[in-house]
């Protein structure tokens, strides 16, 4: 671990304290992340079981997004490792197939239509082309908007298109960074129900959100906070 000047100190608290055990779908051991010479978190371990919904909470800059990016393998931690079903995510064969990551950026090209964007994403992720992609979009309240460039949709509609991925790809692990941003109450409700069903059907979800997600009964919370020394 790199030594970092003690400007501020971040710590992660766990409620409840997770133990790595053999059912774990995803587990992270002793992660340390430094950004711009500040320690965002250190010695952070967590474990996610089938059926878990883990809600990361914390103020802006606490390192929630950094943690999610490390968990999916987009960034590398300064120390520590992330395993999917006890295999390192870099070596795991089916991690990519079993993961849906939806980040801050919606991964929608503004010049392409919703259908084109999602079809491309599905092909890239090896999902056989679905004829019911139109149905999914209309269920998400996007009927009639499938064929216009994404740049002409509102922020909330774009977010709905991005979240349509949850309906398209069958995957066990969902990692969602602020999925509810710009969504209206109905859409938030729909996504929360989808997450809950997913967890009940043997999946797992990690999300960050500043909105309360109190609808869910089996939700676990990890609070990341920082303290000034």
């Amino acid at each position: 671990m790199r030594s970092c000047p003690g400007l501020c100190y971040y710590s992660a608290q766990f409620f409840p304290n997770y133990q790595v055990h053999k059912l774990a779908l995803l587990d992270a051991n002793n992660l340390t992340c430094c950004k711009s010479d500040r320690v965002l978190f250190q010695q952070l371990s967590l474990s996610l079981d089938v059926g878990d919904i883990l809600h990361l909470q914390g103020p802006n800059g606490a390192g929630k997004t950094s943690l999610l990016r490390i968990l999916v393998g987009l960034s590398q931690p300064q120390s520590g490792c992330v395993n999917y079903q006890h295999t390192s995510i870099e070596q795991s064969n089916d991690f990519a197939q079993q993961l849906i990551y939806i980040g801050h950026k919606p991964a929608l090209n503004p010049a392409l239509t919703a259908i084109e964007n999602l079809t491309y994403w599905a092909q890239m992720h090896g999902v056989s082309l679905l004829s019911d992609i139109w149905q999914i979009l209309s269920d998400l309240g996007l009927a009639g908007l499938e064929d216009i460039p994404v740049s002409q949709l509102s922020a909330g509609q774009q977010r709905r298109v991005a979240l349509a991925r949850l309906w398209i790809k069958p995957a066990k692990l969902w990692v969602l960074d602020e999925p509810f941003t710009a969504l209206d109450v109905n859409a938030i409700d729909m996504v929360q129900q989808k997450m809950q069903r997913h967890a009940q059907q043997g999946g797992a979800v990690i999300l960050t959100s500043h909105q309360p997600v109190d609808m869910m009964h089996n939700i676990k919370v990890l609070i990341m906070e920082y303290q000034w020394l």
Binding site: G73, L74, N109, A111, L112, M124, P149
Partner: protein, 223 residues
């Protein structure tokens, strides 16, 4: 599965290029404008033009390639498509290779297509033009392949385009020297196989190494 995915990548690049026509036209317009201004600027003497012609065409091609280069990864990086691509399990270097190929096809091939007309402006003989065409066909893919590494390294940096030009131009200098040397040899009716072989060797080396280096640079930029 990989083949159909790569097919989708290629198709998407082409669709995007044709949706954003202004960006597609920019390099070729720049190329035509620069070259057609030269006879006005240096005077219409046929011998002068013939002497500077190959160099002018190559420098113009190089600069216009540099302008359009950022397009390879800029949008995909900004909107998050690149993240999704990395998480898809498809080898990133293959995706990179296809993106570079598509980029060459839509922003550099048009330059080569209009080059016969421009070599008429500059009074190149047909032997010189043949040599020029051969160097352009071998050399411009090298521009795209090397450029992709540079773009991948600077895509996460704000105002990366200035850095990109500074970083890439030194690498393009050998290409420029060999290419114009080949055309000069052709003008003197000397064989220019040697220069072409060198360009070909550089191209193959870049083809083998650049996709891997670019994929790695993109991963670093994500970090």
């Amino acid at each position: 599965m990989v083949v159909s995915t790569l097919n989708a990548v290629f198709k998407r690049e082409l669709v995007l290029a044709f949706r954003q026509k202004s960006e597609l036209l920019q390099p070729v317009m720049f190329f035509i404008l620069v070259i057609s201004l030269f006879p006005l600027g240096v005077g219409p003497g046929p011998e002068t033009l013939q002497k500077i012609g190959p160099g002018v065409i190559w420098v113009a091609a190089l600069l216009s390639a540099l302008f359009g280069l950022e397009r390879i990864f800029r949008d995909d990086f900004a909107d998050g498509t690149l993240e999704q691509q990395m998480l898809s399990g498809i080898p990133l270097s293959l995706v990179v290779l296809l993106k570079v190929a598509a980029h060459w096809l839509v922003s550099i091939l048009p330059l080569i297509v209009v080059s016969p007309l421009l070599s008429l402006f500059l009074n190149l003989t047909s032997a010189m033009y043949t040599a020029l065409l051969a160097t352009l066909l071998l050399g411009t893919p090298l521009l795209s392949l090397l450029g992709a590494i540079g773009v991948a390294l600077t895509v996460g940096v704000r105002k990366g385009s200035v850095l990109l030009s500074l970083m890439l131009l030194p690498f393009f200098v050998p290409l420029l020297i060999f290419a114009t040397a080949a055309v000069e040899a052709a003008a003197l009716q000397l064989p220019y196989n040697g220069q072409l072989a060198l360009l070909g060797a550089l191209f193959l080396l870049a083809l083998a190494l650049s996709p891997v280096a670019t994929a790695y640079a993109l991963k670093v930029s994500q970090n």
